[in-house]
Amino acid sequence: MKNNGLKPLAVYVHIPFCEQKCRYCDFLSAKASDEVKLQYLLSLMHEINQTDGSKYIVKSIFIGGGTPSCVPAYFITKIMETLEKRFMIAVDAEISMEMNPGTVCKTSLIEYKKAGINRVSLGLQSTFDDELGKLGRIHDYKIFLNTYGIVRSVGFKNVNIDLMSSLPGQTVDRMQTSLERVTALEPEHISVYSLIVEDGTPFARMAEEGRLNLPDEDTEIEIDKLTRSFLAEKGYRRYEISNYALEDYECRHNLVYWNRGDYLGFGLGAASLIGSTRFSNTRDLKKYIGARGMSEMNIQRLTDKDAMEEFMFLGLRKVDGISENDFEKCFGKNIMDVYGDILNKQVKEGMMHHEGDRWALTEKGLDVSNVLMAEYLF
């Protein structure tokens, strides 16, 4: 499709509210009163309205959180209306929204759909109620099934289900059951995130006190293996460290992050990348609301070196990896002159695969990607 000289753009909108904070969660989210939520919506609309979107064509929108479905449904309508006023939005744009089971009903889902949402991401995490309970989720598996049914009945044709692995008490068998149950529902996209115990979360404290009962490393590896083979068998291609999709259903929005495309983030703490500048909003809710969308930004201008590092450690998250030509186009340098030694070393270690124009981590490499990516930092 022709863009008439407009630059493609991805838009992220952050809703930092939840009904209850999960025990492992270190995202920017919290419980809030209706009054605060309303003030937040106003600030968000102000922020969007102050943006000059005339040079862009929006290819994807992602409304994330927090739990975007825990604010009144008309918030989403208002946000979409505001975005539409400031930006040209492509007809085939992917417009995703995160929802938690039990926080939506038929009416709200119809409103989301009307507002333009065409992709739904459901935070299931596990199909076992005891695992969900330990995570501090507010739903159980039955509630999820109900939500999923309504989502489909309303006509959403592109649905993602989030699962988590390495959960407390999780076994290979349990993971297999969860995967069987989820694939039976035939979602277009499945994300499987390993639980990471983050500092400052209740889980961190529990782990320290030895109360978390996390699976041992061997079990964890087995669970990961099973996940990959099981999903592959069912037709879900792994295209990023934690993401699997049926053909043509890869999340286009997330690919923009990993390909370092331009994106604008709106809302509390939201991050943006435009050209070689990264900037993000304040993470202080009071300040964000008080500033009515004009809050102070944290701005970082990337040097070529910064950008090259990012190109590598973001690009290599994708199973297809990175392209030599893209690197040269971006930086005017041959990738071998910059990273040849490391790339070759990683190939020799069996962690990296080189074919044609592309370099990509092997399955083994993806498992230890942090270590490998760190090597690309200058």
């Binding site: 934690s242 991050a271 943006s272 270690e349 230890v368 942090n370 760190a374």
Partner: protein, 603 residues
Amino acid sequence: MNISQDHIRNFCIIAHIDHGKSTLADRIIEKTGLLTEREMQDQILDNMDLERERGITIKSQAVRTIYKAKNGEEYVLNLIDTPGHVDFNYEVSRSLAACDGAVLVVDAAQGIEAQTLANVYLALDHDLDVFPVLNKIDLPSAEPERVAHEIEDIIGIEAEDAPKISAKQGLGIDEVLESIVEKIPAPTGDSAAPLKALIFDSIYDPYKGVIIFVRIMDGTVKKGTSLKFMATGRTDEAVEVGYFGAGRYIPCDELSAGMVGYITASIKDLKETRVGDTVTDAANPCAEALPGYRKVNPMVYCGIYPADTSKYPDLRDALEKLQLNDASLTYEPETSAALGFGFRCGFLGLLHLDIITERLEREYNLDLVTTAPGVVYKVYKTNGEVIDLTNPANLPDPSEIEHMEEPMVSAEIMVSTEYLGAIIGLCQERRGIQTGMDYIETTRVMLKYDLPLNEIIYDFFDALKSRSRGYASFDYEMKGYQPSKLVKLDILINKDYVDALSFIVFSDSAYDRGRKMCEKLKGEIPRHMFEIPIQAAVNGKVIARETVRAYRKDVLAKCYGGDISRKKKLLEKQKEGKKKMRQIGSVEVPKAAFLSVLKLDEE
């Protein structure tokens, strides 16, 4: 100021650690009114920050104060401070030689400890008049009468009239000062005789060059006197003479017999002015040097390398500068396959080593990799050659070795009977041979042991403290070499020999040490992409093995919207961690691993 000899008192304060030596010194300086209270720092004699933090005195110094006694006369009191650690024993002995008497400080609650005895004997050896002071009488647990009896019984010096003081609270200080005047003899010596001065310390000053601290035994020295250093043979003209104010040098016209002061002579190298040497007048030399001089040899060696190999010149410069002020520090360049370019450094003891490495890191901002310290072994080769082995890597092939000898110490340990069994056990584990056991009182015992130095340099003191719950004290002196069955224990990481991890060990302990070393290294070396065998070997034969399992999983699963800053931070941390490692073959080894051998006895 002209002072007659009989109005001079040259003395030192001796004590077991923490019995209050420095505090008493402070009070004396305060009381003699040389300083206003505002000028008083907490502990005037301890100049360096490092000393203050560790609560010990590293370099001896002197201070001259004026005291108006009760008889109305003014006396010059020269207080010569002595280092309080066995590493600096020789320096202590030279400081004592500069004195005529000593104030023995004994904690009125703790009583006599090992260093109390060792110091008193050292003082008596130097013919000093010693009088005791009972300190810390403000403590509820103080028992001055009992401790006074203990002093009379064990040491055999009169203690009935010993001043009972609290240096901390300033109680009884006048009594101490009066006792110094009464009980410590005035110096003797002939000011008209040829110059004979004892160097008891020297420091390097960037403006004045080397400043020599002397006690004039005979004769007189003034500006322009042509000096001769009898041990090194060097001659120089005295540029300045003077005495020690509190923390500053006060020039004067001359120093004569009995006085304590300093001399400068545009000397740039501390090695030219060795502690214990005799200074005389080149034009009118004395017949013979003062007894007791010896060249101090390092007892403990280790390799010191910059963590960042490009900092090698910085390390060299820093060592050069430190040596300006510390003639007992030696260093020479060495190369390690594992660590690159560095230095093999010699120290008087482990504390000395600690102080130097800490100063290198703190004052010179260097990040260091230190290899395990070792002692000097004598290697007798079959061809008749004898090598002083300071670096295990240089051990000749076993076929060329006739036999080896290791340095021994004779140690005195004071312990309460409750822990006697535990301490005897410890000494036996460390290959000690008991040479004596005396009951000091019904509940306390003085143990005497001959021990190999390499068994006590690492953690003996800590082990002693923990096995006696702090109720044992310890002192030792060198006692020559003794043949021993020694082998070199080599460590292989991922099949590569790591020269910097080799150490010399008693052959019967090799297996045990090897096994512990592998275990320790397993904990120190982070997981890699591949499995890493860690092996210990003696004479090419592997005696122990551990394996560091390969990394299997390390991912950041989540995607925080478009916020990549956390991801970047995480990777940077990972990268930063790697920088602190040393590459050995394809394995990254953290610098702490090179000191693993020191921690083998930690449980």
